[in-house]
């Protein structure tokens, strides 16, 4: 407010003397003292300043931070998008959990508080807790993070002053064991450390957040189908029990896109108790381990003969005599009394036949062929690195021969399933993926000719349909299954253990135009009455694969062949 109380119309001649206001109007009145004028000015100024101040405050503080802020360290948690299966069923999501912290400055009796907290949470160290709570200089200390609602209630009921809760996102896996190896793990700050969870962090979908609000990011959609995953797990569980196996693995892969519809490794783990599990029991046999898979590798040897050596399925190989390489002798279990055709080598699973092919090809060509199929690479999926193949230190002729029938080269079931997919899908290399592919990715490269692929499919079908085929127990009326058995002795101390085997079956379905490859492996099955004490894959892995196909056929929309024929 300006100090210009003089009226404007007053001429200079009539200008009031200082100290007298409006002498021409209020001449008779006592002039206001200067002090009163000042006082008025001050009062009005104060009022207007107050008004202006209030206006400014209202304008500036449209969203005031009214919440009580505690003295606490800068701390971040992460919110993550959901993980769903290919049909949108939930596999992992964030929920809100209470985390308990203390303000040691206002904890009155640190000893008593530490004792009572340690009694409630046995995993807390009472001495350490006492030390933390007694440190009056601190204003913030975590006691225990991610409590269950019941734990939080109990901690609240202790009524210890200076304890409080903070809400944090916590990752939960409603499907529990079923997808634990694929989904992976998160750490205490909700950051991915393994599996798809780590992939989510690597693509930047996990965001640091101050409050545990659900993520607005679209869910990560896996190629896995929970229904199929469950059917495979269920059938493998039943097989493990029936054949008294220690472990089992199953992979179902779409041959064109490389999508994994199921990847099961048993025994599996509840993600919530992953850390408590035995080291040996939390091992994903599908991607985390390499194994010599035995005779299923003859599919690759068949491809080698057809594609590299220009053989046809009907070419004869004399497998009557055992194969001598240096001081090693390779003989058949059942010695044939006539030469076998190339297809017969697969159908009857002839080691000698496979060995002859390997010797004919030579080490360099065999190695190049396996490399082309991707069997020698270290591969990755979104769920992390796949255990790299274990190659022989010295790949000579004898190693070449043993590799031809599945010994001497150890690969993960996932990597083998991908190579088999490439062989039967028309010859295009596929890259295994755990994420749903909207479109079939363009084929990377041709690995074998379409004719070779067709011949392999035909031979695989005959392994199951032929009266002498090793896989005839995988036959189910209706579904046109093709496949190959493989029984591999497990390496142990001082050589192979003949009584411990990995018996596997690699199935393609339907055989004439495969859409899926299924690889089933049973680890150390025992001989039972039904198998007459034997542990060969044709007697345990093949029927297990058949049980699985029977279950998942309708889910995959595979129409029984008999029905398809009737319709035509």
């Amino acid at each position: 407010m300006k100090r210009s109380p003089q009226p404007l119309r007053v001429g200079p001649a009539l200008a009031p003397k200082p100290g007298a206001l409006h002498p021409h109007v209020h001449a008779p009145r006592i002039p206001l003292p200067r002090a009163r004028l000042w006082l008025m000015n001050v009062v009005l100024s104060t009022v207007f300043v107050a008004i202006a101040g209030q206006t400014l405050r209202l304008a500036a503080s449209s969203s005031p931070e009214t919440r009580l802020s505690r003295a606490e360290p800068l701390h971040q948690t992460y919110i993550r998008p959901d993980i769903v299966d290919r049909r949108g069923n939930l596999i992992a999501t964030d929920v809100n959990a209470a985390s308990l912290f203390a303000d040691p400055a206002i904890v009155r009796d640190a000893d008593d508080a530490a004792e009572r907290l340690a009694a409630l949470f046995p995993d807390l160290n009472a001495a350490e807790l006492r030390h933390t709570l007694a440190d009056k200089s601190r204003r913030f200390a975590w006691i225990k993070r991610s409590l269950t609602p019941i734990e939080a209630q109990r901690a609240h009921d202790l009524g210890i002053p200076g304890l409080a809760f903070r809400r944090e996102p916590r990752r939960v896996y409603p499907t529990r064991n079923l997808t634990s190896y694929i989904a992976g793990q998160v750490d205490i700050d909700n950051r991915g450390v393994s599996g798809i969870e780590r992939h989510i962090d690597s693509i930047g979908a996990a965001e640091a957040a101050a409050s545990p609000t659900p993520s607005q990011k679209p869910p990560v959609r896996l190629s896995i189908d929970l229904g199929i995953q469950n059917a495979v797990a269920d059938a493998l569980n039943a097989a493990m029990e029936h054949y008294k196996a220690h472990a089992a693995a199953g992979v179902l892969m779409a041959v064109d896109s490389g999508e994994l519809l199921a990847a099961v490794s048993l025994p599996d783990q509840d993600p919530a108790r992953f850390k408590d599990a035995d080291e040996a029991d939390r091992f994903d046999r599908v991607t985390g381990g390499v194994f010599e898979l035995g005779s299923i590798a003859k599919i690759v040897t068949l491809g080698l003969a057809l594609d590299e050596l220009g053989a046809t399925s009907t070419r004869f190989y004399d497998t009557r005599e055992p194969l001598h390489i240096g001081r090693h002798t390779i003989a058949e279990q059942h010695r044939p009394n006539r030469p076998l055709t190339l297809a017969d080598i697969l159908i009857r699973s002839s080691n000698v036949g496979a060995g002859i092919i390997a010797m004919e090809a030579g080490v360099a060509r065999q190695r190049a062929f396996l490399d082309r199929l991707g069997l020698l690479d270290t591969i990755r999926t979104e769920a992390g690195r796949v255990a790299p193949p274990l190659l022989p230190s010295n790949w000579g002729p004898i190693e070449g021969v043993t590799i031809s029938y599945g010994h001497g080269l150890a690969v993960s079931p996932l990597q083998f399933a991908a190579a088999a997919s490439s062989l039967v899908n028309g010859g295009i290399k596929v890259r295994p993926t755990f994420l749903l592919q909207d479109t079939v990715p363009p084929g990377e490269a041709r690995v074998v000719s379409a004719a070779t692929s067709a011949a392999i499919r035909d031979a695989l079908r005959r392994v199951v349909s032929d009266a002498h085929g090793t896989g005839r127990r995988a036959e189910i009326a209706g579904y046109e299954i093709g496949g190959k058995t493989g029984t591999a002795e497990m390496p142990g101390r001082g050589g192979y253990k003949s009584n411990s085997v990995i018996s596997s079956f690699l199935a393609i379905l339907p055989a004439s135009a495969p859409r899926y490859v299924l690889l089933v492996s049973l680890f150390e099955p025992q001989g039972i009455e039904e198998t007459k004490g034997k542990t060969t894959a044709g007697l345990n892995a093949a029927p297990t694969a058949a049980r699985i196909v029977e279950r998942i056929g309708p889910m995959l929309g595979l129409i029984p062949a008999t029905l398809a024929e009737a319709a035509n």
């Binding site: 109380p5 009226p7 206001l21 409006h22 109007v25 008025m40 009062v43 009005l44 009022v47 207007f48 107050a50 008004i51 209030q54 206006t55 209202l58 969203s63 005031p64 009214t66 069923n89 939930l90 596999i91 999501t93 964030d94 929920v95 809100n96 939960v172 409603p174 499907t175 529990r176 079923l178 409050s211 545990p212 609000t213 659900p214 929970l226 229904g227 995953q229 469950n230 059917a231 797990a233 269920d234 189910i476 009326a477 209706g478 579904y479 029977e550 279950r551 056929g553 309708p554 129409i559 029984p560 008999t562 029905l563 009737a566 319709a567």
Partner: protein, 96 residues
């Protein structure tokens, strides 16, 4: 004149202060209301997350399978498929 101006200015100042106080009070009340609503939204969002997780837990395939088997359902078998020509999609053949 001066007195009138002074008095009216004072009155205006008092009136403005009163109005501003009222507005401020109302604003604070509305902000509390908004905050309460935001908390409700946040809490509801979190409740939805928990319910979705619970629903997924209850709908996990192994549990549904056990329940389905209990009421006599089982996975379909190949022999249960039947080809019914009449139900097949219509071809170009038409009744005269």
């Amino acid at each position: 004149m001066f007195r009138f101006a002074t008095v009216s200015t004072v009155l205006l100042a008092v009136a403005s202060a009163f109005v501003l106080y009222a507005i401020s009070y109302e604003t604070r009340r509305l902000e509390l209301h908004v905050n309460a609503q935001l908390r409700t939204v946040e809490k509801t969002g979190l409740d939805i997350a928990v319910l979705r997780a619970e629903r997924a837990y209850l709908a996990r395939p192994d549990r549904i399978e056990a329940l389905a088997r209990k009421i006599g359902l089982a996975p379909i078998e190949p022999r249960q498929y039947e080809y019914i020509p009449a139900a097949a999609p219509a071809t170009s053949k038409r009744a005269p």
